[in-house]
């Protein structure tokens, strides 16, 4: 197995492990809520009246978690199909929302907020390699998470830069490092090296704004 294949598999491994963890949490909540309802039904009718509100809450929890599970399943399915074609047309803003939903948990574990945004709601269509695009976004996120402290925010903004489609990765936070510390940290992280390599394969340019905590992935 060559090094690139190993890296791709490692990327898929981390993503799928993260998502299956989320599925297990969803199933566990549904199971406990259904179980609680069963427990309530098993006790006397008088007590059942007493627990009516809790019963209704459990029903709502089950419905909400089913909704969450179905959304994750369809996003997971879409992600699983990213290696199918070397080139596909994507809407960049929608892709950012999709990516952020899939990876939000990585940020949440570090008490960092991850959000997708678009410039003035404009639609940006690109034709690119979907898998490589997800990989560069993932390494960008991974590098930022290795540098930022808790309570910061990472925004992935789909934008146009010099007539090219671009993703702006903007970080903010009261405890955030200075731009100099931020970029030094990014460049020292393992993810940054992977990001540079993968961006080159995607023919994307990395452009850093040294005045603030933001950098661009310009998709050519």
């Amino acid at each position: 197995m060559n090094q690139e294949t190993e890296k791709t598999l490692a990327f898929f491994g981390r993503m799928t492990a993260n998502l299956t963890h989320e599925f297990k949490n969803i199933l566990a909540i549904i199971q406990e809520s259904a179980g609680l309802m069963e427990d309530i039904m098993a006790i006397s009718p008088l007590a059942r009246d007493k627990y009516q509100e809790r019963f209704n809450n459990s029903m709502n929890t089950i419905k909400n978690q089913l909704q969450r599970g179905m959304e994750m399943a369809s996003r997971f399915n879409r992600f699983a199909h990213t290696p199918d074609h070397n080139s596909a047309e994507l809407e960049l803003g929608e892709t950012m929302v999709h990516f952020c939903t899939l990876t939000e948990r990585f940020a949440r574990l570090k008490h960092i907020t991850l959000q997708a945004d678009s410039q003035k709601g404009q639609e940006i269509k690109i034709t690119t390699n979907p898998l490589l695009l997800y990989m560069v976004l993932f390494y960008s996120l991974d590098a930022c998470l290795s540098v930022l402290p808790a309570q910061c925010e990472i925004r992935l903004i789909s934008a146009k830069k010099d007539e090219n489609a671009a993703v702006k990765i903007a970080c903010t936070g009261k405890q955030a490092p200075s731009p100099e510390q931020f970029f030094t940290g990014l460049r020292q992280s393992n993810a940054w090296g992977e990001l540079e390599n993968t961006a080159a394969q995607l023919n994307a340019e990395l452009k850093c704004n040294t005045d603030d905590l933001c950098f661009y992935l310009i998709l050519k």
Binding site: A17, T20, H21, E22, F23, K24, N25, L27, A28, I29, I30, Q31, E32, S33, G35, L36, D39, R54, S58, T61, Q65, R108, L109, K110, H111, A150
Partner: protein
């Protein structure tokens, strides 16, 4: 320490998980089964809870924001070795299970788990705690664990 309700021993459990709906619902179900259950939504809060009330058994998730479950396990086993810890996680790696057991976890369960399986594991963990406490005490043949609890 286990408490008593109407002369009956109640096992004190602390459920630690960042999935709030999961752990709150599980806690209610455990209360319905006679356990004295409390919850913590992350590792930091679990460590704080231990300062005021040491549970007989802790049911602990591994992947949590801030202090993760493995670190909580390590700290608990240093500060309150008598507390038994059951890992309940959606993360199923063999490496994690091996590490958790090496750090002193009593059991390693995968989410979602049947409530009866969890109850049995908690009861066994509690029994283990009683036996360990008895074994650690100076020899006094007039007392058996059953007499004291």
């Amino acid at each position: 320490m286990a408490g008593e309700v109407n002369g009956k021993t109640t096992i004190r459990i602390l459920l630690v998980d960042d999935e709030e709906e999961f752990v709150t619902t599980l806690s209610e179900r455990m209360e319905m089964r006679g356990f004295d259950a409390s919850v913590a939504f992350d590792g930091q809060k679990a460590m704080e809870a231990l300062k005021t009330r040491v549970p007989d058994v802790m049911v602990l998730d591994l992947r949590m924001p801030g202090i993760d479950g493995m670190e909580v396990l390590e700290r608990v086993k240093k500060t309150n070795p008598e507390a038994q810890v059951i890992i309940l996680t959606g993360h199923g790696s063999y490496k994690d299970e091996e590490q958790a057991r090496r750090l002193g976890a009593f059991d390693y369960l995968q989410k979602p788990v049947g409530v009866d399986t969890l109850v049995k594991s908690i009861q066994k963990a509690y029994q283990q705690k009683i036996e360990s406490a008895y074994a650690a005490e100076p020899s006094d043949e007039s007392q058996s664990p059953q007499n004291r609890h």
